[in-house]
Symmetry: D2
Subunit: 240 residues, 4 copies
Amino acid sequence: MINVTVWNENRHERREEAVGRRYPDGIHGAIAAGLAEHLGDRVRVRTAVLDDPEHGLTEKVLADTDVLTWWGHQAHEEVADEVVERVRARVLGGMGLLVLHSGHYSKIFRALMGTTCSVNWRDSGDRELVWTVDPAHPIAQGVPHPLVIDAQETYGEPFGIPQPDELVFVSSFSGGEVFRGGCCYRRGHGRVFYFSPGDQAYPVYHHPDVRRVLANAVLWAAPPGGVGDPPRNVHIPVGR
Amino acid sequence: MINVTVWNENRHERREEAVGRRYPDGIHGAIAAGLAEHLGDRVRVRTAVLDDPEHGLTEKVLADTDVLTWWGHQAHEEVADEVVERVRARVLGGMGLLVLHSGHYSKIFRALMGTTCSVNWRDSGDRELVWTVDPAHPIAQGVPHPLVIDAQETYGEPFGIPQPDELVFVSSFSGGEVFRGGCCYRRGHGRVFYFSPGDQAYPVYHHPDVRRVLANAVLWAAPPGGVGDPPRNVHIPVGR
Amino acid sequence: MINVTVWNENRHERREEAVGRRYPDGIHGAIAAGLAEHLGDRVRVRTAVLDDPEHGLTEKVLADTDVLTWWGHQAHEEVADEVVERVRARVLGGMGLLVLHSGHYSKIFRALMGTTCSVNWRDSGDRELVWTVDPAHPIAQGVPHPLVIDAQETYGEPFGIPQPDELVFVSSFSGGEVFRGGCCYRRGHGRVFYFSPGDQAYPVYHHPDVRRVLANAVLWAAPPGGVGDPPRNVHIPVGR
Amino acid sequence: MINVTVWNENRHERREEAVGRRYPDGIHGAIAAGLAEHLGDRVRVRTAVLDDPEHGLTEKVLADTDVLTWWGHQAHEEVADEVVERVRARVLGGMGLLVLHSGHYSKIFRALMGTTCSVNWRDSGDRELVWTVDPAHPIAQGVPHPLVIDAQETYGEPFGIPQPDELVFVSSFSGGEVFRGGCCYRRGHGRVFYFSPGDQAYPVYHHPDVRRVLANAVLWAAPPGGVGDPPRNVHIPVGR
């Protein structure tokens, strides 16, 4: 049983009518439903949002989370540094983390990457094709080649990330841009997967193939040996 | 002074009139001219072709080569295994190697990668956009983003290579495909750069930006400490 | 159920009395016993040796193998190129491969790596300490830090390999040498793990912690989606 | 001409008599002398210390720095976050950074790595052997194999870092520990090299081979195209 916490900023949905109609249960609701659909009783899924106390990411909730998914966009700066640090420590201790779409610019992703995580972008409803460059990767299993998203925000290179440990997907857009949209990292004892498709302005989290990717990624990111403390300096006794 | 040998299969040019008109001095001639243009007296460039004795890659020539460029397509199987092994030993000893376009399927590239190096492909004159994903890389200096090639053969993922040590360029094509078209590897003491643009059916090696990439790549691949023997098993004397 | 084939050169055991006493069932027998011990009915283990017809690695056997382990030393050159190519195609199609100790110089490992795979070595019974550099890696679970081997052949750097995709273990020896003794690679659809401990002159494959590493590695290398054909060039129909 | 700034905490030297005698010009003085020795007029070297205003790392100084070296130990927390952020932005814009020894736990290194950067350690004057695992790497040129340091603090694995982009050196210690002591990273447009040898309690920065490594690393880390702004999100005009 994998305990998943789906985190969402949850502002667009409540403030913009069109987004609210697109995601009546919030982006978090759609993501959670997709995971339940694919993974059934292999996961226990809860959700948490920015406006919850401590953003819903208390010590208690994190202690009970094996994999955390993160969606944010317009309110990255409102996430408390203390919570970011708490999440980071948990990832370094083994918790899996899925960073989604505009989450590339979240405090937590930038803290774990150490770089700007910046992108080129354009919002003109391009068709996105998500190509698998690593067909044997667990996250690519059952995913069509290409995965077609009829309309999406465009993200383009250069993507300001460290070289991924494993590059799984690369997208192209109608306008011709390319983007390394599926990237795996190992940081401390934890695994991090960034996946670019998904925007409040498009129904991407209802897309069955996108849901498949997220379900695969939860399985990939789940820590086989559980989550512990992050590594720390250790004094070796003389005469070991 | 970097000694460069530009190797070419040189069959299309001699057998197909249109290719011969496009590359009157052969693809090797166009590549050599581009290097001379950009690098002037920093390089000494010679050429060699399949139908030369020992394919023009004698022990003597290789001993005098710091960077070798490789273009082949329809006659990969005619390259003698002995010569392939000689080139491979030289790369492992430090010689730089640039593998170009359909050279992805050459014996030498497959021998150094250990994988199939297979691609998806279509020849329908798509526009290729070559995007820089690593703007600080020496090979990307002075290269436009994107580099635009009006018409090209399409190569698509999955590309059957090991994960590149450094991924510099990713291309998209009008048909929507993407391709990791600029990949760096270190193998033994040598450096290998694969660059996908370039086909006998298009004047790609006359393109000033493509020539810039190749010139940059020669500088990147040149061994700072010269070329020696490939590594070998070494017995450590007891009591060192 | 994972089908494992344990391959062994099986010459030292039959020709040298001391080795035969150390490994009465052959090195392959000891390895197979260790896997059965740890993995029970999660695996079906068979063995094959150099002197079997087709080295015991017929098309039929390979078609029924998910993970192959490889031990060889003095007779690398006797392994038929055709069998090496068959094994390589199977790895590129998804079969896991564990390359053990002196197998670093086997034809199959060198063919998959593309490099010399050479080492520095000394045989003077040094104590080897195997340190985990990646504690969250599946192959390191349950392995002591360090894993202590009282007497072993010494392997030292430089090890003539491509940079590992994941470096799991680094060893030191009483004489002071270090060696990247636990290296993961992904090649085509398959996974390759090289593990350096193990020599005919020492009872390393009876060591419970070494057996634990090999069992972990079998689980890691097993292809989740089964084994298929290796990738190949694919023509994309125009107008896809 | 490469502008190098050698930064040092400079506390041990002033507070502990033995350290002051060992490094009469400070650790920074010894490092600067070593660079001048090897690189002559290819570099212009200045120094800066913690107790300078803004730690000596004003906007003006950084704007004139191509490569920064960093030594700190007991006062990491006294380095102002604002200066750390300034240095980080400069690295992401292209400045090279050499992080030395106990600098593994500096704010700047941890900010760029995103991980704990923790080590196991023991201070008992072990002999350290620094082995080259990548003999063709520019930083390893002219460095003996092994580089011998008669007495040093011991650092042991696990080292809490992301997998290095290039691993150049691995050390062993008399007590048997191993450590990935020479690690290259590319972050944003900048290059980062971590090198573990060097401690206030030992005359390591007077060691000619250590000085050679640092000089090589300065050349490797210097940005060929100069330093600019760090990458940032860029809006792509529709209809590009």
